[in-house]
């Protein structure tokens, strides 16, 4: 399959106020094929939002890509000039943020906000832009696209605002959309509508997605592959079904055990205590020598303190960075 995105050995660090460095991402490598949905699963502090921002070079001022390549259709985003970046953002890769009420301009009508994206990328006159913006809205809203076109963000519900933001993201036909927790602020039935919309955009327009989330329960039946991020490193990556139903990395196993269990009939074990992961995520101010999960790991071995695990390839494109599996 054709790779749209290839990330190789990506490292991102933030300068701290005390002069130190926070190593948010370390040796992150993965690829996304055309039309593929890759979910990035991680908890707070795992580096998932840093990853999203890095893919578009939108890191805050104290953030820096210290090493690695981000190949978007073969061109390295890390080494692009400001002019090249402006061309690639929007038409090559677009981003959808978590909080649509903050990402949309509050006093500009939705239609105009989409026209603005089209104008920035040039090529259309005012009338053509307005026609095109209506077309785009019609792809995202089933029937009331015309009303949405002339609405202000505050007149829309959270789900509609998120759709408007997605319309903005697809306006310049990107090959890849990075979605950073796009459904976190929505209730469960709206969440599902947004996921269904992503699937139809993938099927109709062939857009690939990097879908960032902290909620493993969203992924089954939606993502093609899941990448599990822990403390700035890739713990495990593989087909969704394989990762969720037979996780191999001790962190993924512990994380999935934390969810309340559903038995065959749909009932849940009532009122029992849930298993938890002991300890806390490590500080990334200093890079540890061994495996980052070692202090909390139930299966740790002596060697885990010394050696940093490389990704081992199991069957079926399932990769695990754990020393239990020889690379």
């Amino acid at each position: 399959m054709r790779q749209i995105l290839e990330v190789r050995d990506l490292r991102v660090a933030y300068g701290q106020r005390d002069g130190g460095v926070w190593h948010a991402l370390n040796t992150v490598s993965f690829a996304v094929a055309a039309g593929e949905i890759l979910a990035v699963l991680g908890e707070s502090g795992s580096g998932k939002s840093t990853l999203a921002a890095s893919l578009l070079r939108l890191l805050p001022g104290n953030g820096r890509i210290t090493r690695g390549e981000i190949l978007l259709k073969g061109a390295d985003v890390v080494r692009m000039s400001a002019v090249q970046l402006r061309q690639v953002r929007g038409s090559g890769v677009a981003i959808v943020f978590q909080e649509p009420s903050l990402a949309l301009h509050p006093t500009i009508r939705i239609g105009m906000q989409i026209c603005e994206v089209l104008r920035a990328h040039g090529g259309l006159n005012k009338r053509e832009r307005s026609v095109r913006a209506r077309d785009i809205l019609a792809k995202v809203f089933l029937n009331d696209a015309e009303r949405i076109f002339s609405s202000y963000p505050h007149e829309l519900s959270g789900g509609q605002q998120q759709r408007a933001l997605i319309a903005q993201a697809i306006a310049c036909k990107p090959a890849l959309i990075v979605a950073d927790e796009p459904t976190a602020s929505l209730d469960s039935s709206t969440q599902r509508e947004i996921l269904t919309l992503f699937l139809s955009l993938r099927d109709e327009l062939g857009i690939a997605f990097v879908f960032i989330t902290h909620n493993p329960a969203l992924l089954s039946g939606f993502a093609d592959r899941v990448l599990v991020l822990y403390a700035g490193k890739v713990a495990e990556v593989g087909p969704t079904h394989a990762v969720l139903s037979s996780p191999q990395h001790p962190y993924t196993q512990a994380l999935l055990r934390c969810l309340p269990q559903v038995d065959g009939g749909g009932a849940v074990r009532r009122n029992a205590l849930l298993p938890v992961i002991g300890g806390a995520a490590p500080s990334l101010a200093v890079l540890s020598r061994g495996c980052v999960f070692e202090p909390r790991c139930e299966d740790r071995m002596e060697i885990c303190q010394i050696r940093d695990p490389a990704a081992a390839m199991l069957a079926n494109r399932h990769e695990v960075a754990c020393l239990k599996f020889p690379a």
Binding site: S44, S188, S189, Q191, V262, R270, I277
Partner: protein, 268 residues
Amino acid sequence: MEPIIRVEDLVKRHTRRGLWSRVADFTAVNSISFSILPGTTLALVGESGSGKSSLALCLAGLERVASGRIWFEGRDLAALGEKELREVRPRIQLVFQDPANSLNPRWTVEEIVAEPLLVQNRVSRREGDARAAQALERVGLAAEYLDRRARDLSGGQRQRVAIARALILEPKLLILDEVLSALDCSIQAQIANLLVEMQRAYGLAYLFITHDLRMAAHLADEIAVMSEGKIVEQGAAKILQGLRRSEMRSLVGASPLKPETLGEVSQR
């Protein structure tokens, strides 16, 4: 056993004000009845806008109701005046979804947790601090956190502080409004365990408001489903198996409980 709280035909209306005049009444809670026994949990599930949070504010005495009764300790809260309400409120405490917004970021944990006692004018500053340390211990935070400021805590730690602040007044009923929703899965499990342990230890009753059906079924003895201001389904937690109403089905179909429903759309 006597219920700790019994709600009868509760109605809450919000008045939308226009620039010049009253515009329209909106019924957020429409004739709702339920009761909760001591030491048990009622989960209230529903989509955004279904009236869950309006109901929570009414029960806590923070919003006036249009009609109906709220029986608590033999009195009807809906009929009480502000002064009497203030006397009852300590025993019904609220915990909110986002501890980053519900705690003052500049206050120390000690100030936050002791404040309800001081506001109630019950104790001296010194005793307040001692009780704060106790409450903190109950929620699994060491005394060294007393001097930390809320902004320096993680999400899970902040939610523990918010729960400690509610516990310090020794409530009988805790209203938990989406208290797990803003947390990571592994932290959700820790706080859920804390809720279970506290209920066992102190016999607290919970009104657990959520849109996560899986967690509702895990924590609750009974589940009520709200839609457009009404309870459309109510019963033991196992009603999840025998779904009758379409609202319930769509909610469950959309929830993480049944991820396979999404599978149908993903077929390429």
